[in-house]
């Protein structure tokens, strides 16, 4: 997936779990939990939804690496290259 597709997938996962979020209002450089009303159960569900949309599984320990939208996209892009069949 391209970086743009990954970004759309993350936003789609976020609004699937918390449709009260206005995607246009997300600052991609600020922590998601800081600017949005999402709790840790929401975040867990977002990770599950990201997996469903991208096929990328995020281990528990790496959750902090998805703190901001930009970080999440960067993490998924890197994970995608690592796991890509050679």
């Amino acid at each position: 997936m391209t970086e743009q597709e990954l970004r759309e997938a993350v936003i789609a996962a976020l609004t699937q779990v918390a449709p009260d979020i206005d995607p246009a209002a997300i600052d991609p450089t600020i922590g998601l939990a800081e600017q949005l009303d999402i709790d840790s159960m929401d975040f867990l569900n977002v990770v599950v939804a990201i997996h469903e949309r991208t096929g990328i599984e995020v281990p528990e320990r790496d959750y902090p690496k998805l703190s901001t939208l930009d970080q999440a996209v960067g993490y998924l892009a890197a994970a995608q290259t690592q796991h890509a069949p050679s």
Binding site: A18, P19, D20, D39, L44, E52, P59, E60, R61, P64
Partner: protein, 623 residues
């Protein structure tokens, strides 16, 4: 996605099933949950060395005598928690250490905490707040929350915490029911959730904000907390409150009606300190981490009061759970006693015990858990991950403090909540078909025999017991029958006196340790134009224990599609906040009701779980 806007993948669902199965077999006792035997304690001797001996020797009068008290039989929680240490050898010991994503964010020694809480009490005095009036705090785990809590108690007014993930509706309801005079909150939370409510809250005289000068100046009807604190005097004597004076107001939810404000008094500190010693095994100088948010009773009784009365250092993490950060905190802060919750432990468990082994957790002496029943595998996992079992305990908002527990010196039976606290008499009573307690002819409760399922009941009289539901004497008196307090939880007791949780005796939902009343959620849903009827249940979840799930019947003219589902989800999240709003919504053709019109949530739940629906003879035909 067909299963709902918020669905788990197959892997999670499978975990859910197996955990539930194990959970149920453990509860019924068919599964031999191997007891964990304790040898003699190494290192620091436990405060409670022998359960049976402690039980025979303990008295609340002697626990009361261990407190300092104030002249004229006065008793003030803040004095016991702060001054007593600040005026003694622990003055320069850190009372509260605040951590954020960047590390240590702030520290307050007992002496500093005494000055800060004096100043906050002075602010209330200057504002003309009267003793007994309610001071609400809506904030994350920041220093101001702790200073406001203890400063309020010092002043003699009443501390009432609001969970920071609440939406405007639960906030308004609680401010109104609690007759709030003062609200302490942040600029962000005020702007997002409270400003719009002000016209409907005429009794809310003062809003004290945390934020920058410019931000606060731009918000009419508010004051700058820091500016007021700066002008207040450094010392203010603690109010000479009577033991029965109201100290804290904690809202809790029932199956029906609005949330209830459980009234707690200054005498509760006797129970907080005694349980901090006997159950959490707290000693002066301990590094204690209670992960509960003070928005709920655990975060107040044990996140603030109990450890400070003993002279421990409290670690407070302002951020949310993250696996490596949490293990890092346990390691770097040398946490000795850790009080956490099943949801958190299950999240850590998902990352694997080997992650815990990467950290040096050797300072840890005791791990306890509360909030919902702890499944046996988590207890065993604790052994594997930390080298210590997790000690479950049981209590609720109304009891004010721990009532039944697994103790450091006592063998653990995984899956059991443990044995009653010394000084607390617990029993099990039989219930009739309507879930009411069965009474003998003389009006006394009919008690269950060994191993028989019934409702957990407690003999009133422990110091931290609630004294009222604010303004609701009827619902208060309904909790007492035949000389016992009815907890609403179903349990059984084994031959050795260990209590085992079976289920809740009502429809209240426990999600991530938060108590949620289905009625409050249903009421909010009914305000959506598309919804004609709504029934809300707790759906078992492998991590959160339960999640809030709503079944809605649409008004004519509305199509049950994904767009509407999202709209309802967004609507309820904006009103109720993430912690309370449903995470799943199903459209149904009928919301089952009995002949008197009451929503039959157990039928919804049985259908959700694919279980037999039980006796439906009282159900309205067509449901």
């Amino acid at each position: 996605m067909a299963t709902g806007a918020v669905g788990h993948n197959v892997g999670l669902a499978q975990i859910a099933l197996t955990q539930r199965e194990r959970h149920m077999t453990a509860f019924t006792g068919q599964h031999a949950a191997e007891p964990i035997h304790k040898g003699p304690a190494s290192g620091l001797a436990p405060n409670l060395e022998d359960y049976d001996l402690a039980r025979s020797q303990f008295s609340w009068a002697s626990a009361r005598a261990e407190l300092a008290g104030l002249p004229g039989d006065a008793l003030n929680i803040a004095y016991e928690a702060v001054d007593r240490q600040a005026d003694g050898p622990l003055a320069d010991t850190v009372a509260l250490r605040f951590l954020d994503l960047g590390g240590v964010a702030a520290e307050l020694t007992y002496a500093q905490l005494k000055r800060a809480t004096s100043r906050f009490a002075g602010v209330l005095e200057q504002l003309g707040v009267a003793r007994g009036e309610r001071v609400f705090v809506l904030a994350g785990r920041i220093p101001e929350l702790y200073v406001a809590a203890l400063g309020t108690l010092r002043h003699g007014s009443v501390f009432c915490p609001l969970f920071s993930a609440f939406g405007p509706e639960p906030i308004e309801q609680r401010l109104r029911l609690g007759d709030a005079r003062v609200l302490v909150t942040t600029v962000t939370l005020y702007t997002r959730r409270v400003a719009g409510l002000r016209p409907r809250l005429p009794g809310l005289a003062h809003v004290l904000l945390i934020g920058s000068d410019a931000e606060i100046e731009a918000l009419p009807g508010t004051d700058d907390l820091r500016a007021l604190m700066d002008r207040a005097p450094d010392h203010r004597e603690p109010a000479a409150t009577a033991p029965e004076d109201m100290a804290c107001l904690h809202f809790t939810s029932g199956t029906t009606g609005e949330p209830k404000g459980a009234v707690h008094v200054h005498e509760a500190v006797v129970g907080h300190r005694a349980t901090g010693r006997m159950v959490l095994d707290l000693h002066p100088g301990d590094i204690f981490w209670c992960t509960a948010d003070p928005g709920w009773v655990t975060g107040t009784s044990y996140g603030i009061i109990a450890p400070l009365t003993i002279g421990a250092t409290c670690v407070v993490d302002e951020a949310e759970l993250a696996v490596d950060r949490w293990y890092g905190i346990l390691q770097d802060q040398h946490v000795t006693v850790w009080y956490t919750a099943p949801t958190a432990l299950r999240m850590l468990m998902r990352a694997g015990a080997e992650v815990a082994h990467e950290y040096d957790l050797s300072a840890l002496r005791f791990v306890a858990s509360v909030g919902e029943p702890l499944n046996p595998e988590v207890v065993h996992w604790g052994q594997e991950a930390f080298g210590l079992p997790v000690h479950d305990n049981w209590w609720q908002t109304e009891t004010g403090g721990i009532m039944i527990a697994n103790y450091r010196s006592m063998d653990v039976r995984p899956g059991s909540m443990g044995r009653p606290l010394p000084g607390v008499e617990a029993d099990v009573c039989r219930r009739d078909a309507d879930d009411k307690p069965l009474l003998a002819t003389d009006g006394s409760l009919e008690l269950a025999s060994e191993g028989e399922q019934g409702e957990l009941v407690l003999r009133p009289g422990w110091p931290s017991m609630f004294r009222a539901y604010l303004g609701d004497p009827v619902r208060y008196s309904e909790r007492f029958v035949g000389g016992w307090y009815l907890t609403g939880d179903l349990v059984r007791r084994d031959a050795d006196g260990y209590f085992w949780f079976i289920g809740r005796g009502n429809d209240v939902i426990k999600s991530s340790g938060h108590l949620i009343g289905p009625f409050e959620v249903e009421s909010a849903l009914l305000e959506h134009e598309a919804i004609g009827e709504a029934g809300v249940i707790g759906k078992p979840d492998p991590v959160a224990g339960e999640i809030v799930k709503a079944f809605v019947l649409l008004n004519p003219g509305f199509e049950p599609d994904e767009e509407l589902r999202r709209d309802i989800l967004a609507f309820s999240r904006r009103r109720l906040g993430a912690a309370v709003a449903p995470r799943e919504i199903d459209f149904v053709d009928v919301v089952p009701r009995n002949r008197s019109g009451k929503i039959m949530r157990r039928v919804l739940k049985a259908r959700e779980l694919g279980l037999p629906e039980g006796d439906l003879s009282t159900m309205e035909p067509g449901s």
